[in-house]
């Protein structure tokens, strides 16, 4: 049997290692998994724009839609990593609240009770406190999930309740005011070359997240664990350590989101964030990430987060009846995913 000539065996079908670098790039652009959901987003904007060009296609509407979505986008970037590992993080909204509250209260304490007129020094400390608060919850989630092997749903459902409770406990159940004006006027509502600063920050976070996921070893391990956790463990990847980092990342981003929300609203709210988790998850899944892990992208998440935001905005501008709005959003949402899925399937079957 060893008489079989080698060249024959590897004839026409073996890939020469030269081409593939290029084909893969070209293919990736054309056949990207996010292509069709991007088309859906553009279509939506086109339709709304056609109906009310004067109100929809304005700088103002663009600016506000982007700004109002940036906090959620930061949460969703962290959630993308979590979901790719086949985990879930229900706690992000509560961690956002907790971080905002601790940050605002620290800034107030540093400024004798009211930080409204405080300077940049105080603001930087506030940012640090927000990030550390988020990190602490993320670490706790990570420890319980990765080390104690408790299902992520249970752990983060627990911290969902606990972080909110803790935030309310230290703020005594009320919103914390006294957010420095310098923060509100710069990060909160300031713009740079017409682009809101919040949007810039969220874009930077998304870009770093996308690079981390697609080009680095960290991203590779994230996919590997979600694809087959046992295989990842057997090839010597520290699954426990990596999962801890993932939940830590989600926590830190939730902390950052809390700081951003505080800058934007100029108050650290203890309410209004109980559906952030579902909204973030929906954005991630809309963007083509599978809840079973192993596949997904940050670019998809960005598109997925904007689709419901654009829908809601569009319907408000068109003056659709409030009770019809969720119905309309639901229909378009499901239709969008259906379109995306059937396009992708068609491409794979071709």
């Amino acid at each position: 049997m060893s008489t079989v000539p080698e060249s024959k065996t590897n004839g026409e079908t073996t890939l020469s290692s030269e081409d593939e670098g290029h084909t893969s790039l070209a293919k990736r652009l054309a056949g990207a998994n996010t292509l069709w959901i991007g088309v859906v987003l553009l279509l939506l904007i086109a339709v709304f724009g056609a109906i009310r060009p004067d109100a929809v296609l304005t700088t103002f509407t663009l600016q506000t839609t982007l700004v109002e979505t940036s906090v959620l986008l930061v949460l969703a970037v962290g959630m993308t990593f979590v979901i790719i590992t086949s985990g879930i993080d229900l706690s992000v909204g509560s961690v956002l609240v907790f971080s905002g509250v601790t940050s605002a209260m620290t800034m107030n304490a540093m400024s004798g009770g009211d930080a409204t007129k405080a300077g940049w020094g105080v603001v930087w400390v506030g940012l640090l406190v927000a990030l550390v608060s988020g990190a602490a919850w993320g670490l706790l989630n990570g420890l319980l999930i990765a080390k104690s092997k408790i299902p992520p749903l249970i752990v983060t459902l627990g911290s969902f309740g606990a972080a909110l409770g803790a935030g309310q406990l230290i703020s005594n159940g009320s919103n914390v005011a006294g957010v420095p004006e310098v923060l509100g006027n710069t990060l909160g509502t300031g713009t740079y070359l017409g682009i809101p600063n919040l949007v810039l920050l969220a874009a930077v976070v998304a870009a770093i997240g996308a690079l981390l996921l697609t080009t680095t070893r960290f991203g590779r391990y994230t996919y590997a664990i979600g694809s087959n956790e046992e295989a990842a463990r057997r090839v010597g990847i520290s699954v426990t350590g990596h999962l801890m980092k993932i939940y830590l990342l989600a926590g830190v981003l939730a902390g950052l989101a809390g700081f951003m929300a505080m800058a934007y609203f100029r108050v650290a709210s203890v309410t209004g964030h109980d559906t952030d988790n579902l909204n973030a998850i929906a954005g991630v899944v809309l963007g083509g990430t599978s809840l079973f892990g192993g596949a997904g992208s940050v670019v998809g998440t960005v598109l997925g987060v904007f689709i419901p935001a654009v829908l809601r905005k569009g319907f408000v501008i068109l003056g659709v009846n409030v009770y019809w709005q969720p119905i309309a959003v639901a229909i378009v949402l499901v239709a969008a995913v259906w379109f995306d899925q059937s396009r992708r399937r068609a491409r794979n079957q071709r």
Partner: protein, 254 residues
């Protein structure tokens, strides 16, 4: 014969009420191909899992290069130069072949980018293609996830991965089960080459001619215990089958 590289004594492994290993012993010497054979359910894969840190045995001891060793994780085993082709392959189905080949041992870009953890995907893909070529594997596209590969192609990836990194001992749990005739020959060639580099190769296979053709020694497992040991060239298929099925017993408690 030299000192044993790896020696397992009286390993016991229980899963609930199932006794997968009931005092199994096993020895591997450096630079030899030792085959581990046995009936379905004899406990071969369980033994391999215990020896590569995937499962922790319920009882028994392990010696590595004469020193007692406790393997608490697969990483532990890797650090000792132990690589394994698992029967279930243990690949990440969503990643492409190159990514699987380098999983846990990614090549990074040179310079600051590499320090930041940026992968050198191009280099990995190129080298992976070479590996596959050497094993006689042909892929129409190297960019597809492993889930889309044929059974034999997938198995080749797992084999290529293990031999690429082993420095002391490599366990191969039925590495040729899904391979075509040509690829099987290639893998047997690779096994011999690896052996010649002084690495111990533990081969598990149900194909007796294959076992006989490549093994320096053969150990037989039956019902979770070692029941017989043979010198490779001195035995026959009939003798091996007899040992596996219990028609012939050599050792009582090994």
């Amino acid at each position: 014969m030299s000192e044993p590289l790896l020696e397992a004594r009286e390993l016991v492994k229980h899963y609930g009420s199932v006794e997968a290993l009931r005092g199994a012993s096993f020895t591997a010497y450096p630079g030899e191909v030792v085959s581990l054979i046995g009936d379905n359910g004899a406990g071969k894969s369980t033994l391999v899992k215990c020896l590569s840190g995937v499962e922790r045995p319920t009882g028994g001891t392990l010696l590595f290069e004469g020193e007692p060793l406790e393997l608490t994780s697969p990483t532990d085993a890797r650090d000792h130069g132990i690589e394994t082709v698992f029967q279930d392959l243990a690949v990440a189905p969503d990643l492409d072949p190159a990514a699987n080949l380098y999983l846990g041992r990614e090549l990074r870009k040179p310079g600051v980018l590499g320090w930041l953890g940026v992968l050198d995907k191009h280099e990995m893909r190129k080298r992976a293609a070479e590996h596959f070529y050497r094993l006689g594997v042909s892929l129409q596209s190297i960019d597809v996830p492993i889930a889309a590969l044929s059974g034999g192609q997938r198995q080749s990836v797992a084999v290529a991965r293990s031999v690429a990194w082993a420095s002391k001992i490599v366990f191969m749990d039925e590495p040729t089960a899904a391979l075509g005739v040509v690829q099987r020959e290639r893998v047997l060639d690779v096994i011999k080459r690896v052996r010649d580099e002084g690495i111990a190769v533990v081969l598990i296979s149900h194909n007796m001619p294959e076992v006989l053709s490549v093994s320096d020694r053969i150990e037989v497992l039956r019902l979770g215990r070692r029941v017989a040991r043979f010198k490779g060239p001195d035995t026959s298929v009939e003798e091996l089958v007899g040992a596996m099925t219990g028609a012939l017993t050599q050792e009582d408690a090994a």
